[in-house]
Subunit: 429 residues, 4 copies
């Protein structure tokens, strides 16, 4: 019955038992034709199982079909738009909306009814995003998925949960897999990060009970941390959280590539800060210890070849470093953070995130991260962004209105000292 035109498309004869893409498209048609929710659930389950069984080539073919067969007919759209222009009545507007909404959306809504449907669609978008550059036609699929996922993952549906050693191994294992900033080297490393002087929180969604959406790692310290290696040391003694006066956010990881473009970090940081303030009223500072991931690349683009030559040897920082080199690097880095731009915003992605959230640039930390990737991306430097609660909203507003960057006097001074270097010539600043 359903999907006959698609069957013809894919050349399936009536005698051939359907498999692969033709079967999947038949199921999609049947799902859209079905009027009972109960039957829909069963068809949705079959459809997702069939999708999950496709190999890469077939998946591409399925996406091609989704992109080309479920968009509205241009004539119908034009007609509805004309009617609305002639008379912008509620009836005409609703009719227009109906015409413009692609059937794909309804298809995805129905696929979501299957057990595990939401997780499957999040994964489907992850795969889709990988192919998007090569297949721009798929952007219409992405727009529909994004539209629905944005509704389903509305922040009102998320719940903040503390992660600790009482959390299920299934969730903890995901943390080990996902941690992108400072890789977790196995269960005992993770255990140290969940001890009494640490906190970890994640957002969860009711439909993905075993899947963190985003998580943050916090160290409770006395004084603001300048170096990340001590925080990552598995054998570091466990301090008393009652003595701590700082909460250091040293890692924040988005877990679901399929939710790219839906932002949760701002909300997470602030809810976590509130939660910590409740548990430890004596905390005086909420700050990050963050990488400066674009610094070294920017040095290259800015033509700082001379400076780069001095740090070309991977071991450059292990002996004594000339003070002038240190000074020069720190000046360039302060300049990069304050003045290098992408449009009107900072060029550095991490800076964009925290400054946009209302944090302030507080301190540059020399050799704050001496790991291989820390040296390669940030020339070993780290930066503390401070979330100073009474200022956060004001900073956030000024950032969005005036692209104003809140920064401490020492950082501003460093940046001012930065000599007109080659960077200036190439105009990246």
């Amino acid at each position: 019955m359903a999907g006959s035109f698609l069957r013809r498309l894919f050349g399936g004869g009536p005698a051939a038992p359907e498999r692969g893409v033709p079967k999947l498209l038949s199921l999609c048609e049947a799902l859209l034709a079905e009027s009972g929710e109960y039957a829909s659930t069963a068809i949705a389950r079959d459809a997702l199982a069939t999708y999950q069984g496709l190999d890469e080539r077939d998946r591409d073919a399925f996406f091609d079909a989704l992109a080309s067969h479920y968009s509205p007919a241009p004539e119908a759209v034009a007609k509805a738009a004309s009617a609305y222009q002639a008379n912008p009545s509620p009836a005409n507007f609703i009719a227009l909306q109906d015409v413009v909404e692609p059937q794909r959306q309804e298809l995805f809504r129905r696929l979501n009814m299957a057990p595990g449907g939401t997780a499957a669609l999040v994964k489907m978008r992850k795969v889709l995003l990988k192919g998007l550059r090569a297949r721009p036609g798929w952007r219409v699929i992405d727009a529909d998925l994004m539209h629905l996922l944005r509704s389903w993952f509305n922040r009102g549906f998320l719940r903040l949960e503390r992660i600790d050693w009482r959390t299920s191994a299934m969730v903890l294992e995901k943390l080990i897999d996902y941690e992108a900033v400072h890789a977790i080297r196995g269960w005992w490393d993770l255990r140290r990060r969940l001890e009494g002087d640490r906190r970890c929180f994640a957002f969860f969604h009711p439909q993905l009970p075993d899947e963190p959406i985003i998580f943050i790692e916090v160290a409770l310290t006395h004084g603001m941390s300048a170096h990340v290696q001590p925080l990552l040391d598995q054998r570091a003694p466990v301090a008393s959280p009652q003595q701590a006066d700082c909460a250091m956010f040293y890692s924040i990881t988005n877990c679901q590539e399929g939710l790219r473009g839906i932002s949760f970090g701002n909300l997470l940081i602030k809810q976590v800060a509130e939660e910590l303030k409740r548990e430890f009223p004596h905390l005086r500072r909420f700050a990050t210890l963050s990488p400066i991931p674009g610094f070294r690349r920017w040095l290259e683009e800015a033509g700082e070849q001379e400076l780069l030559a001095k740090i070309a040897d991977p071991a450059w920082h292990q002996g004594e470093v000339p003070e002038t080199l240190q000074r020069r690097l720190m000046q360039r880095c302060a300049h990069y953070l304050l003045n290098a731009k992408q449009g009107a915003e900072p060029l550095d992605a991490v800076a964009r995130f925290h400054l946009g959230n209302g944090a302030a640039l507080e301190r540059l930390n020399w050799l704050g991260d001496t790991s291989e990737s820390g040296m390669a991306r940030s020339a070993g430097m780290m930066v503390n962004y401070v979330y100073w609660l009474p200022e956060v909203e004001k900073n956030h507003e000024r950032y969005f209105r005036e692209h104003f960057i809140a920064a401490s006097p020492p950082i501003e001074k460093l940046a001012r000292e930065a000599p007109a270097g080659p960077a200036q010539k190439k105009g990246a600043g």
Copy 2:
């Protein structure tokens, strides 16, 4: 800053502290302008609190503003439609979708971020629906709310829960309030309906933890019940569910008027049937004991004045009822159920629901409900619809394809015997 044009609209001068609708519209503007999720949550909370404080007149004014100020400009729509017609590229299609989606949707999405936001929006739609007939312009608001609620209340997000005497009083109280078919007369009536020979199930949504969405009451009986009063008798002895061979669905209630138009009943009945089959494998029949709510009205519209005269006295059924009267009423009722139509579907709303789900008309029960409303609406009759699991899918499909009504031979015979009465003349059959 935000909402200045709206403030002018509503005459608020700069000196006047904002209150009521102007304040609410300012908050809506601010919410749409806000770029951080954390701040949004706070504004959304304020906006909902302000909305909840409005009196009826102000609420109407707010809905008027929502309807008129957040729909897309007809010219912009026409332009995007033309571009899409000229070149139906992904980019043009996505641009078209962006133009057509009213900002109201984003506004509601952001309001949903407030604590309790989903519940508040469900209630907002309930209020809106009440005024819709008088204010057809509000239909655009309803379309947007419906679009979002349909996503948020996607069946994949619902969870089936058993309701029993261990359930929280907060939820049980709602059952007492909501039960629409056979009113629950207090806590001890409810308690009887949750005893060992009964089952009650509801769908819940993660965002409305204390609010049932829809619930169903089931009696486990030996033999298919023909009369509802024994099922509602608080003092009826509790039978052993192990002896039961029938599950009688004797009441099903949609609880959230604000979700009208989103159907959950089909899924609920079938999931409950599965659940019961698992707990009591020896159950042989899943059937309803249902009212025929439109029967008496139909008799009137069909011009059966002579018949109606015989049942005009409220006590007509209390003495001995002439066999010819009983026969005649039952014949007319069978005819009504099988032949009276609204379009191609049955005229009776309950029949439409169960037959559309795939159930079959099994038996007419004389004096099945002698309550006041049962006499007034159904002339005292009740009907059993049977969910015969192996046939349900086939019935459901034939109903939707051919408008076929599955009915037992005795009911079909009764309907055939119905004399060509006045109904025929008026063509309602």
Copy 3:
């Protein structure tokens, strides 16, 4: 096999299928003989079911058998005691303990393995206690049950739970049944007692998940309540708990008669006070509004016939009460609370409880409880005991060391003013 001697005792022949007490005693023997826990569980279940099916006469016979058949043989005890006296070695002491412990204890321990065993044994003791006066021989059974229940209901095993409208109806129903101080008149009365300006807490035991052990009702008020009727008024408006400065403990109920003699109230009050202090740091006073249940009876025993004659008419307090009468009654009452004794402790049971916990007598409230029972037992008066946290431990210690009663100056003054009345002559003071 097992129980053959008992069968003979009860005259059961080998052909007679066992029922009632003989069957139960056989099961007890089998249970004691069994070496595998799994089989024991099954036998224990059968034994409890058989016990629960006994009528009253058979239950008495069973208790008689329990009392007479499971105590150790006096000679064996004497022998073990002699050995221990001769040589108080560990081995001799352990042997002595083994001999002295009645087999009943092991029997009860094994009955406890059945599902619901703990609840069944608590109920068994309740029944036993009723018959104890008439059957003093059962005291040995009670001693064994008490020994075990004291272990099983060790306070370390109890968990404090808040009771509110989210609590299961099964538990709430029990509150309605059990409340002994100020009867709960149905669900809506209970609901008022669980509103935002009230708190209710109970202790639960893991083995009795649906059974509160003891519960306390608290009103959050502004100023210390003097009258109980306003607190019990279902239509009283709900106040804001944020404005409250007092927590009034107005009712505390032990639920399990079968746990009589194991005291939980002291711990409950203090844990609840801590819990409330945490939720409402601005609370300044924790006080009770308590009956004086023995006052009127004491007036009778003290020969205050003249005074009693003035309050003999049930309506005596409804018109204007002569000031001298009020004064005289309050003086006598203060005297009763401070000076009437049972041994070295107060004669009034409620006073013994709160003063022993470390509370102080704060205020006498004229016409604090005008209900029928309030008038009949306390001549309408109520008293506030204050739990002044910094003094509680000291008061408690002095009470137990010196039988010191902490009382406010006004109450002490009232008591001093009490004229040498007839009470003095009879020496009850």
Copy 4:
């Protein structure tokens, strides 16, 4: 105040701030003297904290004091025993019980009121047991702890929980620590043991929520496993549990040394078998794959030096093993299992456990466990005990009545073939 005599004992002067054992004994005295539960809880907490801070020498001194100071006076016991002998009345019996019960029991009951009290007492007994051989006087302490722990860990209080990858890391870590039969080599080994073709269950007690009491590991297999190494292989592919017809119990571990002597295994195995039967109704066999831990030692004691010489080289089984050697070893092993005794029961501890539970000896497996410990203790052999549900109760009864060992014909045949070897001469069979 409290404990002055003890202070004198330990030489503490009034000026010396109490520490260590004197402080602890003062706290114990205070705890016994205290009449309010709330204060008791605080003292109990202090006492346990003080105990936990003791070094080994002080702990020994504390146990010595516990053993010597809290047992009843022999004269008082003798007097109460005489009274009871003269008149075995309830009053005399209860008085006797009171005298005989050492105050230590009350002390431990009160210590149990502290948060974490139960866990602390379980650990205290673990330490005590270690010193018991050297300090037989401590046996009276052990008797009291055992008496209470037996009540508190009554099987009615335990709940069976499935352990899987959703279990908290805190509990899983304990499994890794405790597993005694086949050591778990880290998290990925554990993960494999919790995959879809495995099951793991544990008993938990409400007071020790993060501490398994005993746990069992099960493999769902097709056919009865003969070799344990494939079950322990982390890289073994995961089979479908739906295809399995056997549940192989391949490891069972008691976790709490402090509960030694309280047996949970019988109940666990049978509840797990029921649970598995419910989940997988097609399972046909419940069997163990068990070591024979005493076999090789018995060979030595039985003087089988000639046989032992042949397996002295650790690599003896890695090349080809002469058929006569295999035959001879298996015969001796069958003989050991069936005929070597400790009293009337089997000499082998694992055999005693499973045969006492009602299992039957089913099959000897040549080279069933080639691990180092498997070779060292069992000469590489393993045995399957089968829990054949319809026979389990009968076997269990015959075992306890007649010391009957249920065994399969092949094992009995093997044992009969065992030549009169040196074992016979030494009479160990």
